[in-house]
Symmetry: C3
Subunit: 334 residues, 3 copies
Amino acid sequence: VLAISLDELAVRLGAVVLGDGNLRISGAGTLRSAGPDQVTFLANPRYRQQLAETRAAAVVLAPADRELPTRAAKLVCANPYAAFAEALALLHPPPEVTPGIHPTAQIDPSAQIAASACIGPHCVIGRDAIIGDAVVLEAMASVGAGSAVGAASRLHPRVSIYAGCRIGQRAIIHSGAVIGADGFGFAPEAGAWRKIPQVGGVWIGDDVEIGANTTIDRGALEDTVIEDGVKLDNQIQIGHNVLIGAHSALAGCVGVAGSARIGRHCRIGGGAVILGHLEIADGVTIQAMSLVTHAIREAGEYSSVWPAMPHREWLRTVAAVRRLPSLSDKLRGL
Amino acid sequence: VLAISLDELAVRLGAVVLGDGNLRISGAGTLRSAGPDQVTFLANPRYRQQLAETRAAAVVLAPADRELPTRAAKLVCANPYAAFAEALALLHPPPEVTPGIHPTAQIDPSAQIAASACIGPHCVIGRDAIIGDAVVLEAMASVGAGSAVGAASRLHPRVSIYAGCRIGQRAIIHSGAVIGADGFGFAPEAGAWRKIPQVGGVWIGDDVEIGANTTIDRGALEDTVIEDGVKLDNQIQIGHNVLIGAHSALAGCVGVAGSARIGRHCRIGGGAVILGHLEIADGVTIQAMSLVTHAIREAGEYSSVWPAMPHREWLRTVAAVRRLPSLSDKLRGL
Amino acid sequence: VLAISLDELAVRLGAVVLGDGNLRISGAGTLRSAGPDQVTFLANPRYRQQLAETRAAAVVLAPADRELPTRAAKLVCANPYAAFAEALALLHPPPEVTPGIHPTAQIDPSAQIAASACIGPHCVIGRDAIIGDAVVLEAMASVGAGSAVGAASRLHPRVSIYAGCRIGQRAIIHSGAVIGADGFGFAPEAGAWRKIPQVGGVWIGDDVEIGANTTIDRGALEDTVIEDGVKLDNQIQIGHNVLIGAHSALAGCVGVAGSARIGRHCRIGGGAVILGHLEIADGVTIQAMSLVTHAIREAGEYSSVWPAMPHREWLRTVAAVRRLPSLSDKLRGL
């Protein structure tokens, strides 16, 4: 574990110290959990009460909160949550990586592997694949023919990248993610389904994070596109030829059907489903578990959420809704 | 990349050429994207406008559309979408496979591996497993004891097949799929759960495609059954003892609970959930994100979809619905 | 296949035999499928009719059902379903395991592997990891630095455990599960997202089962916690810092957002979503596909389920609900 003085930390975060700059910080925690050698943060006003009681050595907070009472030293800066993220990164540097190729990895002779890359045990890399500078493939990655992984990207164990996919720089891809499997394309023919070969690829920009067991299908004829800075949580399904605009964030278990186009800076709540062949504007927020069935042309918040309630009450509600069409007719009669 | 003359292509598709049969075709695209050496198709009337503007060399279309204006040569046939699929398969043949067993694969001596099969790096094949003719196991497949994979099937990297499962011929199974994990069966006992050993298997017919990270549980006492020609998209969960009838297609993120029986030629939209121990007739379509709670005895389309709307408007709707039971009571008073 | 006499079986199940105790039992089945050398069970009254017709050698049933007519011998005991589970476990013992480390496994020299553990092909075990007595890691498990797997746990092929996670004793973890991937934490900064390093871990109690392709994220600062006896089905997503109380059971495709706290002995239906930063009391049942948006403080059953109905009828319902806010206004006028 590293330790760093409060003064040093303040320089790294661009913060002003109120308190003893010689304090040594060796970890981080919440207002409630942080101990006397740890830093914490206050970003949400509803935790102000906890500030008075924290045992932390120091707290990162905004100028508006600098006068609040606390025994902790203060690190004052404009964006406390982002600064705290920076402090965490300083205190928990990623494990050191030794460049090289593990002897159990199977690399096609035509693949180009940067000398600074680290290829872990049991990885399999196909023909003409390109692995960039300082890329880390942890164990059991599979990178298909002609695919490229951009510089400084990290693939956690057991990531599959099919042939013909392009991953940008500084990607973080979690275990079990699958990039470039066939889109779901079939033509009905004589009572059965004929497979439409999926010959597009996947194009992923820079600074994209992809969660565990998330799947991004390859395009049918053109590419599926994930723009720069997109963040995908776990267990998400992205259909073929979807486009997700830069800096959008999708929470866990979201499904996006084929050829949907999601704008930039959108936020999609967990378990939401976006139907295919529709467009969502920039800056749209979709609530968890909502279903988008039509184009959304204006920024803002959209929902089709039914909050759970006691079962008996819910049954009465459902029954009343079912009588509603006939009720409406009767009312029109009045 | 292959190139093929329009006349040759027409023969393969069973189509009639209107235009220069000597044109060389070396790829395929959409009406909008196809270039002058590519073939495209028109199946949906709403793209007729794009036909006039396409730069494609040739377009596959139906007899009814043969007179529509376009600079492209025409390939006229009864089912343009299926014919286009065939063209794609001709222009993008799967990578050639060299039979043999990769030296890093771990094969139980009792397993039967066809001489024409290709077993990729780091595969693990258990006792008495059977791998059929021309099967391709890409990297890191795991095939449990006594399981069988039928001729000409392809498993993409990182597919798990537990013991006692049967996969038919010409299966395509995508990365991360898990076939034959234990069904979710527990008996309550003294405030805890006692595991019910899941001793059935999984029986999968011919020509089935299974998407990335889809899971199909083994049966409790008898088999879970997926009949011929079923197509499963990504991230689908099939519970124990489910039966899915031939040629049904399930979109991404669908969940099917234990012992549900889905008919033949059904279509289940993305994110839908089918509760357990119920039966769905042949030819049923379930809309995306709908919940099936009771048996469906007649073919047709079923839904319980709430389309997302602006959040404020939605909140008013939810509030009105919640008042509905008491409102109904009052109206009965009128 | 084992065979066991009815008398022996009765001793093991704590049951009383009514019938020929010398009968040999060599398998188990349902009332409908069990053959003349198999045992079956009756737990649900609606299957009583099948009891009269079963061809099974013996049936496990409750004292209340001991007089029901059947040709089968009877094994009478208080909890027939749990006793049948025990019979299944006796008749289908898990495959024998030979302790040892497969030569293709990659084990960090600092890891502690119990002599009685079995480490399968292509496993990868990191620095300072601890693998307990009689643990079985099937093929391609990945166990990160400093993680521990408790005694008698079994990991099916292709399980990922990141660094800093703790799995209790007797865990069963199915293929494709990912424990300890980063939680979904990002701070907005200048129109982009800054990653919050996720430095907590995952703490999993004893007797937990985790389904195929289920994901459990590591905590942001503190641990994500899964208490003793919890059962998680397939394709479940557990966000960072979630706590799931002992003996709760979650069905397939459930999503639990960050920092939600679910009580003990809860049951969550398939596809339900629990929003983050809320608390659910002990003994709560959530229906399939319901959405929990607020704290639930009392035991009981909760729902927000819309059952699917014929599409046209549904469209009328949706339209009527959309008119409801204005309808309410008019009614207030009356």
